[in-house]
């Protein structure tokens, strides 16, 4: 059948790519667990991913918290607006928007940078040079990025949660005229540990995905500048899609049924 052949080919190519990515991920993780470690490199990546992402993640979170408060007010105005707004803001931020938006922002900022840096190292023979100098590129390049991203994303999400709730508070108190103490008390009452914990688990997974995609596409880039550009695009797009897909899966695992 002439129709089936191309479908089969695409399917096989998909399976092959998944296998390659799986092998890459396993190799990367196994090198995270075995010495030698590179604390300087891990520290450098932590600063890069954690500290320098604070402004971007903070801005995203504050506007998201503000808009959540505003939108829920127009929707819930006729009912018990005050408690509804506090609940909507704190639950949306901690469960979903904090981790997802922080993940997407970091995918754009860090995933792209990783793919570009490692891709450039690939096309300028720096990765070959590492190997010839008896240094495993997985150990030197991939493992520090995976470790740093998994460690820093949850920190960023805690920050995003606080800033996001603060954004909702600002609108509720200064624009909608609610009582500040009541608002904070309601927020605190609605919040369950599981909301925050699920968000942090998501963050760690998203951090892993962003670093994995950045390293994978960079490592396998070929050709010159064009190949590196393509790797960068692929890293951001694939990380973003995976973040949204895993967000659903993790949500279903925590809150399903």
């Amino acid at each position: 059948m002439p129709v089936l052949a191309p479908i089969g080919r695409v399917f096989l190519a998909f399976l092959a790519a998944t296998g390659r990515l799986g092998t890459f991920a396993m190799t990367g993780v196994s090198h995270c667990a075995r010495p030698p470690f590179f604390p300087r490199l891990i520290g450098h990546q932590m600063v890069e991913i954690g500290y320098f992402s604070l402004p971007v993640v903070g801005m995203t979170a504050i506007f998201t918290g503000m808009v959540l408060a505003l939108q829920s007010y127009t929707g819930f105005a006729r009912f018990n607006a005050e408690s509804a707004i506090a609940a909507v803001v704190v639950l949306s931020i901690t469960r979903e928007l904090g981790p997802v938006l922080a993940g997407l922002m970091v995918a754009g900022r860090i995933g792209a940078a990783m793919a570009a840096e490692i891709g450039t190292m690939r096309v300028t023979e720096q990765i070959d040079a590492l190997t010839t100098l008896s240094t495993n590129p997985f150990k030197y390049l991939v493992a520090p990025r995976l470790i740093a991203a998994v460690a820093m994303l949850p920190c960023l999400v805690v920050f995003a949660d606080i800033i996001g709730v603060f954004g909702g508070y600002l609108i509720s108190v200064y624009k909608l005229g609610f009582n500040p103490n009541t608002y904070l008390k309601l927020t605190w009452d609605f919040l369950e540990p599981l909301d925050v914990i699920s968000g942090l688990v998501k963050a760690a997974v998203f951090g892993f995905l962003v670093a994995l995609m950045g390293c994978y596409h960079g490592y396998h880039s070929k050709g010159g500048a064009q190949g590196v550009g393509l790797a960068t695009t692929n890293a951001v797009v694939s990380a973003s899609i995976l973040i949204l897909a895993f967000n659903y899966i993790i949500t279903a695992l925590f809150f399903g049924t």
Binding site: E125, Q126, D128, T131, L133, T135, Y140
Partner: protein, 257 residues
Amino acid sequence: MSATTPKIALRDLKKRFGDKRVLTGLDLVVAPGESIVVIGGSGTGKSVLIKCIMGLLQPDEGSIRIDGEEVVGMRGSEREKVMRKFGMLFQSAGLFDSLTVWENVAFGLIQAQGMARDEAKAVAHEKMAQVGLGEEVGALSPAELSGGMKKRVGLARAIATDPEIIFFDEPTTGLDPIMGDIINDLIIDCVKELGATALTITHDMASARKIGDRIAMLFGGEIIWDGTVDEVDRADNPYVEQFINGLAEGPIQAATA
């Protein structure tokens, strides 16, 4: 092992990328302390040849013996032990642009041999002096260097760990003739100083004549001619004749057209 064990022995080496057959059954023997130059046009697989020998690429078929030991299929710590015998000057120098010049030169000493940074820095300065670079260059970043200086740093890095076998991938490409000749002289001096075996690939005949004890010509995925530097001008081989005289007319064009 007897004194006549070749340093490098390749037998029936084959490598293809998809449908493209790059090496099609290549044989080559290099004696200890010998300096061999492999000549051939662009895209004939010279870099692929070196990368197969170093284990950066996996050959599809054939045997590679280093000091009589089969290295095809070697992995892990065994592979690392063989890798320590190698040094390489990459075509694009392959310097790590996140590190300073001296850190580049000292990389193999610090990472592979576990030498203390201060000690490694002293060795790096010594090796840099050997290739005509002052200590003040050590603190620069590779991005600040000219093409000729990059090659010098790459050379210093290649010899820093006192390798037994050094590979030079087009050492004079992209340099003006005078700088090219300076690099040729440095290569000869460094190889002699270490008593190393050298395998150079190039399409620059002046460089090949100067560096090599022996010249081998790669064409169509095989070594089609092999002899001393004196013999190359008297070679009774139309391919070699065309290549060393740089003629547009001849069997090479006819064969690739």
